[in-house]
């Protein structure tokens, strides 16, 4: 147990060290990364949500709340561009996401409910494959990132031999090396133990302080200072 705790601490430290080394970047970005206006989504006969308007600003954590089946995951998939069944307006830095698709995708990191981890590959191979298309990262950094999520010693073990929580940690290791300004995280706290949950909370807060934007869906009672909330599933939806 003790051992595990020190790993969590190292996660924070990795984060701090990285943020210290990160050079400061000129002007303050205050323009919203994502702007949604009058978003509406139908699934079958049911309207999941409508007239949803919000902005995702750099340096903020946004929590999407709602009971099961109110469309949290759907909203996140819409924001990521995986789901097309919506109407309304959705802008990336004030511009169309379709036209600026490449720029949008390069600056957005989406972690879905299914973590995108191949059970037959080792955590190192998985992480290498996932980062290869975005920003090639040295193996030592990947190794450290995995150690930082509490997977030290498991780097070369096939993922099918890891527990569900450990597999999710492989995906979470991406967050320790991610450069993308916008993170969309679906149920990040699923299958993660209490220490891990605290570490993720700290990570998200650090991220916001660095000027990154995080949108997270969770049933976990996440409380961060200055957190924005999007609540889905009001009474108006029940009538439909």
């Amino acid at each position: 147990m003790n051992n595990v705790c020190t790993r969590r601490v190292s996660l924070e430290c990795t984060r701090c060290r990285m943020s210290v080394h990160r050079p400061g970047y000129g002007a303050l970005m205050s323009e919203p990364l994502l702007q949604a206006a009058n978003l509406q989504c139908e699934r079958g006969e049911r309207i999941l949500f409508r007239d949803l308007s919000f902005s995702i600003l750099p340096g903020t954590v946004t929590r999407v709340e709602g009971a099961n089946g109110t469309g949290k995951t759907t909203l996140l998939r819409i924001l990521a561009g995986l789901n097309d069944a919506w109407s309304g307006e959705l802008l990336w830095r004030g511009q169309s996401r379709v036209i600026h698709r490449e720029e949008f995708l390069r600056n957005m990191l989406y972690l879905g409910h299914r973590p995108g981890i191949k059970a037959l590959l080792t955590p190192m191979e998985n992480l290498r494959a996932l980062t290869a298309s975005r920003r090639p990262v040295a193996d030592t950094v990947l190794h450290q990132a995995l150690a930082g999520t509490g997977l030290d010693g498991f780097q070369e073990v096939p993922c099918r031999k890891l527990s569900a929580g450990q597999q999710r940690r492989v995906a979470l290791a991406r967050l320790l090396i991610a450069d993308e300004p916008l993170w969309l995280l679906d149920e990040v706290f699923t299958a993660i133990d209490a220490d891990g949950v605290r570490a993720i909370e700290t990570l998200l807060q650090h991220r916001a302080e660095e000027g990154g934007a995080v949108v997270v869906t969770t049933h976990h009672d996440l409380q961060l200072p200055g957190m924005q909330r999007i609540v889905l599933g009001g009474e108006s939806d029940d009538e439909c």
């Binding site: 943020s19 210290v20 990160r22 050079p23 400061g24 970047y25 000129g26 303050l28 970005m29 750099p58 340096g59 990521a80 561009g81 995986l82 789901n83 097309d84 069944a85 830095r93 490449e102 720029e103 995708l105 390069r106 600056n107 957005m108 989406y110 879905g112 409910h113 299914r114 973590p115 995108g116 981890i117 191949k118 059970a119 037959l120 590959l121 191979e125 494959a129 996932l130 290869a132 298309s133 975005r134 920003r135 090639p136 096939p158 450069d179 993308e180 300004p181 302080e209 660095e210 000027g211 990154g212």
Partner: protein
């Protein structure tokens, strides 16, 4: 905390090249496949089995086999490619890798092309390499065997490419297997006709250049169009899931 003192995160402007990420997709698929060798062997075994059973079931006579041999090999190759198509995107869809693939900044059709290429290397290419042995078994002549291998070499990538469209379209469905066959087989028929036609012409000693050119045209058409269709189908399947 003062907002101005934050070490701000800069939007990323430069990315990884298309070739590099295609290579990453290709090598990951190869790695995954070699960790699960029984899946690799399955279509190959099917191919060998069908070709072996024909002489036993119909007739072991040299005259029959020489005439029907090329057709048997082609049909067996076609069916064994069809058998393996369901796996092309299914596992990636189930574990979420496909979502990450679609969200890569590189054009999706290139990544789909890389995946299809990996699929062909793992299923089509072994069939081509096995074909000479089975060709001898069905009493084809040397020249015919060479032409048969050439047609398979040009034809099997077409099968994989066309198949990728069907596999992407039927991804979210429960009874995907049947629908996939129904969708794809009609599109396979021209390839089959020209593939076996080439070998038949070679057996008769007729020139085969025109046939091969037509097969080549199929391949060019499939390479240029199929990845676009498959990537569009993938987006639809993911959007509905």
């Amino acid at each position: 905390m003062n907002a101005e003192t934050r070490p701000l995160i800069k939007p990323l402007s430069s990315g990884v090249g298309n070739m590099a990420s295609m290579k990453a997709v290709f090598s990951r698929d190869m790695k995954v496949a070699f960790r699960q060798r029984q899946d690799l062997l399955n279509p190959l075994l099917f191919f060998v089995m069908v070709v072996t059973l024909f002489p036993l079931g119909v007739s072991p006579e040299v005259s029959f086999l020489r005439e029907a041999g090329a057709g048997i090999l082609w049909v067996a190759a076609l069916l064994s490619v069809l058998l393996s198509l369901d796996h092309l995107f299914r596992h990636d869809f189930d574990d979420g890798t496909l979502e990450q693939l679609v969200l890569q900044p590189q054009p999706l059709f290139l990544l789909v092309l890389a995946k299809t290429l990996a699929h062909w290397t793992l299923t089509g290419l072994p069939l081509v390499l096995l074909a000479p042995v089975l060709g001898v078994m069905v009493h084809l002549e040397g020249n015919s065997i060479a032409v048969l291998c050439l047609t398979l070499l040009i034809g099997t990538p077409v099968l994989s490419l066309i198949g990728s469209i069907g596999a992407a379209l039927t991804l979210g469905l429960r009874s995907a297997g049947v629908l996939l066959s129904l969708l794809i087989i009609p599109l396979y028929i021209p390839v089959l006709i020209f593939g076996t036609g080439t070998v038949a012409a070679a057996t008769e000693g007729a020139p085969v250049a025109a046939y091969l050119a037509l097969l080549g045209a199929f391949l060019v058409l499939a390479i240029t169009l199929a990845p676009f269709a498959a990537s569009a189908a993938l987006r639809i399947s993911l959007s509905n899931s």
